[in-house]
């Protein structure tokens, strides 16, 4: 199975998680969106050599995954699939940045390794926060929240449509590819001419499906706008959620907690 096919399978699971009744599902999607964005900006704002100070921030994705009852296996697999770019670019840091920064029991660690570790940590934190957001909210409420926050309706409607037909067309594509490979025998490699015709037919099917969907929408009185019933409204607990996490991010950003804990323990040991 291709990388995308397994990623789509995981996405289906991820989205189905959002429909369950968890504590997180009751939060206003806008609160979760705003908190997640604040979290990501906080992570990105740290200096490139800070590893320790970033660690307390792991509480956000871990606590939300726990509250939303999101399996960590699913999150880890998605992270693994998405990691190559950050790893490939980051791995140059240890090669280029060789100044000694950290020495521990006689082992000296170069600044490059420290900043590479920081890149991996940043990647894990920001990516898992986005995944937790989707798994605890679902795509439809998220799009509704974006619309209410002033994102152009054309775009949010497009997001919903794309999301709805993603699985349909991807399923069609993978069935076409499977059918070809079953009949191809020795010619397991796909030649460009076969590719063009296969993809061309997929494109024609997409056009044809769009025409049918449009007809069906017109039959139901479509006037260019999608309407959905939102039951959620901003409560006091949403303000508390946003403010609480915001304060935590600010605290972690200002105070290097691990260093403080380390100093405390060292003092106690002495």
């Amino acid at each position: 199975m291709t990388r995308l096919a397994s990623a789509l399978d995981d996405l289906r699971t991820l989205d189905s998680l959002a429909s369950r009744d968890t504590i997180l599902a009751h939060r206003d999607p806008r609160a979760k969106l705003a908190t997640t964005l604040a979290f990501i900006v906080t992570v990105a704002s740290f200096d490139r050599y800070r590893v320790g100070a970033l660690l307390p921030l792991a509480l956000y994705p871990i606590a939300l995954a726990a509250l939303g009852d999101i399996p960590s296996r699913l999150l880890l697999r998605a992270l693994w699939l998405a990691s190559p770019f950050a790893v490939l670019v980051g791995i140059f840091n240890p090669l280029l940045d060789r100044a000694t920064m950290l020495s521990l029991a006689g082992v000296e660690l170069s600044a490059g390794w420290v900043s590479f570790t920081a890149i991996l940590l940043r990647f894990a934190l920001t990516a898992s926060a986005a995944l937790v957001l989707v798994a605890s909210t679902g795509m439809q409420p998220l799009c509704a929240a974006l619309t209410r926050l002033g994102v152009p309706r054309v775009f949010t409607v497009q997001l919903l449509f794309l999301y709805r037909y993603l699985f349909v067309l991807a399923g069609e594509a993978s069935r076409m590819a499977t059918a070809r490979s079953l009949r191809a025998g020795d010619h397991s490699r796909m030649s460009p001419t076969v590719y063009a015709s296969l993809l061309g037919h997929l494109l024609l099917r997409a056009f044809e499906r769009a025409r049918r969907v449009h007809g069906a929408m017109l039959a139901r009185g479509f006037d260019g706008e999608l309407r959905h019933a939102d039951s959620w409204r901003w409560r006091r607990s949403d303000s508390l959620f946003t403010a609480g996490w915001g304060a935590f991010f600010a605290w972690v950003r200002i105070v290097d907690l691990p260093a403080a804990i380390g100093a405390l323990l060292a003092g106690a040991a002495r």
Binding site: S191, L198, A206, A259
Partner: protein, 318 residues
């Protein structure tokens, strides 16, 4: 290639967000003004098509490696630049949210590299003039390949500039360019060939789809100038506001802005003084590491306690 959150500084990320957000607002208004409600399902479907196309890989002759379609240029040809940009922006958003591909802070940068550049630079400035009004098959192929190649080169350049301006990676601009541009030249040729193959296929089977949507050359050309102007203004404004903010903030933010402003154009990509462990001192290093481990253990403990509590409440309230 997708820019990642992990390699981006907030300054660069937010500046790219504002620039791409401005383009998205203009493009959405433009699409809304077309008042063609067939466009809604069609755009959604073509976005899904771009996703699905990535599931079918073809073997590149003589190399054995495989390639797939990215779709920016194809969408611009089929839908026009504005609708195509909205579609690409939605694809990137779903990738960032659901596949951890790119990331939310990097979304603006990715929309710019993979959306603005192919739709508003490669398509109107390279593809259209090269293809002309009624191109022969050969001319169409040539235009698509050149436009796809240059569009992807620009995108790769964007990734390199955003990465080095952010200063998280140690790669110097020149080395990174030498790594990225040839790779993207190859990806661009593949993208151009795949786009051409699909265009020629449509031309043979459904010429109406190409004719109707690729039409109205005056409309597309006329609406791009105000768009580019608003883009430049938005970028300038954000850059100005953020560098003012950054000058009051220490650390990475300030450093990357200093770089962006060209204060140290020849300095290697290493900040003057790393602040995490200010001096190489075994004692401070040890307390840092011990503190880090204790913090991580605390975080994990809170996480598993929350999970356990959730499990017990779920059991007690069936």
């Amino acid at each position: 290639m997708h820019m990642a959150d992990a390699l981006l500084s907030p300054t660069t990320g937010i500046a790219m967000w504002v620039a791409s957000g401005a383009v998205l607002a203009v493009a959405s208004r433009h699409v809304g003004a077309r008042e063609d409600d067939r466009l809604v399902p069609l755009m959604g479907m073509l976005g899904a098509f771009v996703f699905a196309a990535q599931m079918i890989n073809f073997t590149i002759p003589a190399t054995g490696s495989s390639g797939h379609l990215c779709g920016g240029l194809l969408l611009a040809i089929l839908l026009g630049p504005h609708a195509a940009f909205v579609v690409i922006a939605s694809v990137l958003t779903v990738q960032a949210l659901c596949f951890a591909d790119g990331g939310l802070l990097a979304l603006g940068a990715n929309m710019f590299n993979l959306g603005v550049l192919p739709c508003f630079v490669a398509y109107p400035l390279i593809y259209r003039p090269l293809a002309g009004a009624a191109p022969s098959n050969l001319r169409l192929a040539l235009a698509a390949i050149v436009a796809a190649m240059l569009g992807l080169q620009l995108g790769a350049l964007g990734v390199v500039l955003q990465t080095t301006l952010s200063g998280i990676s140690s790669l110097p601009t020149k080395t990174f360019l030498i790594l990225m541009l040839p790779i993207h030249l190859a990806i661009g040729v593949v993208e151009g060939l795949a786009t051409t193959a699909l265009l020629l296929f449509l031309r043979r089977t459904r010429p109406d789809l190409l004719g109707g949507t690729a039409g109205s050359p005056t409309g597309a050309a006329a609406s791009i100038r105000p768009l580019l102007a608003s883009l430049a203004l938005a970028a300038l404004f954000t850059g100005g506001v953020l560098s003012w903010f950054a000058s009051t903030q220490p650390d990475g933010l300030e450093w990357s802005v200093a770089h962006a402003a060209g204060i140290e154009p020849h300095a290697p990509i290493t900040p003057p003084a790393p602040v995490a462990w200010p001096d190489v001192n075994a004692g401070t290093s040890l307390t840092g590491v011990v503190g880090g481990i204790v913090t991580l253990a605390l975080v994990m403990a809170v996480g598993s306690a929350l999970r356990r509590r959730r499990a017990t409440t779920a059991r007690s309230t069936p």
